[in-house]
Symmetry: C2
Subunit: 282 residues, 2 copies
């Protein structure tokens, strides 16, 4: 049987992945969850029809989301992950030796269950005693926390559509993130593929830049996301990712290095033009 998974990058562009087998399919309280075994990248998690993470290329997204923040902060102790139910972000966070307590707030227990069954490399650190996994709404959780986290990583679905990730791209949510950070804390969140959704980079950057003393955008090239070029916003109350303060850097990574970290903040004019003036470097 010739089975293909098609994803719409836009109304005009699709990515197609040859599927060996559908491993899992469930409609949770929040979203449609599928795990498919792709020929190209192995087991892959699909939420509401959008490819989220694959065994084959997940290292890029998770290393860049976690380590840019952890290496920028001088000594992150308390880390909050909003979303991240597949476990990959938690796994990278827990590699950092100064991290004493990490909390992962995932709205959908069915995502964690699917990942535990079918993405064992992603979930390898989910039982680390430093990690607390909570199943609740990330925005509601954040609203009860004040000045508690050194690093907050928002690892959620895209803001397009009506999935549970939508609320995590609002000004109210970014205000709550800022409120929950310790004095020199910073936060990171992906802002999507600018060739196809430039408005996400533009709108989120404008909001975060107006709300945090320091905001920066960086990129990583991720083959399972449309166009490859994928962006992340940093909102910081102090440390500048262009001048990392942590003496620690991770070893054994396949994408992140200190040099890759620096290079990731160099933006072509085509991308920089989406940003408010305060965010344009050089």
């Amino acid at each position: 049987m010739a089975l293909w998974f098609d994803e719409a990058a836009s109304a005009h562009h699709q990515l197609r992945w040859k599927v060996r087998r559908c491993l899992y399919s469930v409609r949770s309280a929040y979203q449609d969850i599928q795990v498919i075994d792709t020929e190209q990248f192995g087991p892959s998690l699909v939420l509401d029809g959008i490819m989220q993470t694959t065994a084959g290329d997940e290292f890029i997204y998770h290393e860049m989301l976690a380590h840019v923040a952890l290496v920028t902060h001088p000594a992150p102790e308390r880390v909050l992950i909003v979303g991240g139910g597949d476990g990959g972000t938690a796994r990278e966070v827990l590699r950092c030796p100064t991290v004493r307590a990490a909390t992962m707030v995932e709205i959908d227990p069915a995502v964690v269950e699917a990942a535990r069954r079918f993405l064992p490399a992603h979930t390898a650190a989910l039982d680390d005693p430093r990690l607390e996994v909570r199943f609740e709404d990330g925005a509601a959780f954040l609203s009860r926390h004040d000045a508690e986290y050194d690093v907050i990583l928002v690892d959620a679905t895209d803001p397009e559509g009506d999935g549970p990730g939508k609320v995590l791209y609002t000004p109210e949510f970014h205000a709550a993130v800022r409120q929950a950070l310790r004095p020199r804390g910073l936060y990171i969140q992906h802002t999507g593929a600018p060739f196809y959704n430039p408005e996400v980079v533009r709108d989120v950057s404008a909001d975060v830049a107006s709300r945090f003393p320091l905001a920066r955008l960086f990129s990583a090239t991720i083959p399972t996301y449309p166009g490859g070029y994928f962006t992340f916003i940093v909102g910081s109350l102090g440390p500048d990712p262009l001048q990392p303060e942590n003496p620690w850097t991770p070893t054994g990574t396949r994408w992140y290095t200190p040099a890759v970290h620096r290079a990731a903040f160099v933006l072509p004019p085509y991308i920089a033009d989406l940003l408010p003036a305060s965010m344009v470097v050089g």
Copy 2:
């Protein structure tokens, strides 16, 4: 009519582009030539079923291929383009004021004809008096030239398949390129999308590194090429692209800047692992 162009990145992955109209279709002496008007990126040239260049994103490939070389060389005067029939590389080369004579050797006149009709922004500089356009086999042309060019840019189809680009990825061709360079000359050629064809990066890098005093790899993210992550090899008889020697840099570019140039040479371990030890930086 719902018309889609499908391109196979591998046996397991396809890119699909919604097509407004097929503008042109011809079988030349060398290849199958199509121009399709894509909803996402406008008029797009397809050779033997592979997307080559689109109006919407061509600036990335052409700026990076041309300017990395032109800015690295202290004062490029004579430039050879092997292939490049769509005209985009010549357009960028001719922006450099020290360039006194550029030669474009394209095997297939039908490609230039198609580009002149349907890709006017690509071909805007094809009538520049400093440019000579020749229709002949690039490898045969090169074998008659010795120490003549400051910069050689190989702008051809992929080495996979049996298209006319195949011969441009052989050790014999790289030897001829080296022979045709002036004493401090350098050459650049794309080495494809390493997520899908890592063997091209590996094999070409090994050959070029064994043949040139200096070899380096850089990347650019190009949304119409599979996975976005796209690589280029530099073989140099002298100037190091990490220390550009030309006081000139282009202005008004949308992707290339001096900072993007430097960042493009920073390779993640996943990519660097494909290279011979002599090419690994830092």
